[in-house]
């Protein structure tokens, strides 16, 4: 694909070799992109855990429970599904 022709840039965006190569002089600790994206990965996991435990729905203005209240929601909301199943 076109990614091979991308200009080589900073450490964070440089394309790695098709397969990892030994580079003993490059052991400078955790790269910055790992720290930054690691935060987003943790946030994603927290959202997933919140969803599994129902916390997201309680806090969200448009969660299942939030939408199930009120006249419109009540019309078909009596048999609203659980978040984790059918």
């Amino acid at each position: 694909m076109g990614a091979e022709s991308q200009p080589r840039g900073t450490e964070e965006t440089r394309m790695a070799h098709p397969f990892p190569q030994p580079d003993p002089g490059d052991d400078t600790g955790t790269p910055r992109w790992v720290k930054v994206q690691g935060i987003f990965v943790v946030l994603l996991l927290l959202v997933a855990i919140g969803m599994a435990t129902g916390l997201v729905n309680r806090l969200s203005p448009f969660g299942l429970e939030g939408g199930g209240h009120g006249p419109a929601g009540d019309r078909v909301g009596d048999h609203a599904p659980s978040e984790s199943g059918h």
Binding site: A3, R14, P20, L44, G66, S84
Partner: protein, 175 residues
């Protein structure tokens, strides 16, 4: 465990096809979710939610598991490994989480599809669930594009496990 070049190409092709297919199917699902939420035409709303239920069960869910499975096979069968490089590890966590969240949402999607098939949904009916489905579709698409970008750029960075394995292998190859 390393695959032959021919098998590696086949596994990579399968993984790319399933992953890109998942993104495409989710984009289609997003269009249906937007149409179901914004359309003033009752038939369009009904068709959109019935179709979104079918697309979820017969396209998105199979593609999600196929993408996850082929990705794991691809990682384990090549020198990249599953836990050696941060980009592979991040992709694994992202895709597992996305699949988990997708499965958590299938109940709501099926429910709205069933209600849409049986009754006529007006603008405010099940608004919370419909908005939630739309939000998850947007979030899912963002997360899948993130994973695809990681797979495309393969940014450098080895985990501690990766370094240890690499040093062990180097020590074995230099007696």
């Amino acid at each position: 465990m390393t695959m032959t070049p021919r098998l590696r190409s086949f596994a990579l092709t399968a993984h790319v096809v399933f992953s890109v297919g998942w993104i495409g199917a989710l984009a289609g699902f997003l269009a249906l979710a937007v149409a179901g939420l914004t359309s003033q035409d009752a038939q369009t709303v009904r068709a959109a939610y019935i179709a979104s239920g079918l697309v979820t069960w017969y396209v998105i869910v199979p593609l999600a598991f196929a993408s996850l499975l082929t990705g794991i096979v691809q990682a384990l069968g090549t020198p990249w490994g599953l836990f050696r490089n941060y980009w592979v590890l991040f992709k694994l966590v992202i895709i597992v989480t996305a699949t988990f969240m997708l499965m958590g949402k299938t109940g709501a999607i099926s429910f709205v599809a069933t209600v849409a098939a049986e009754t006529t949904l007006s603008g405010a009916d099940l608004l919370g669930v419909r908005l939630s489905i739309l939000a998850h579709a947007v979030g899912g698409l963002v997360v899948l594009l993130w994973a695809a970008t990681l797979g495309m750029y393969k940014p450098r960075g080895m985990t501690r496990y990766g370094w240890r394995k690499q040093h062990e292998e180097r020590a074995l190859s230099q007696p």
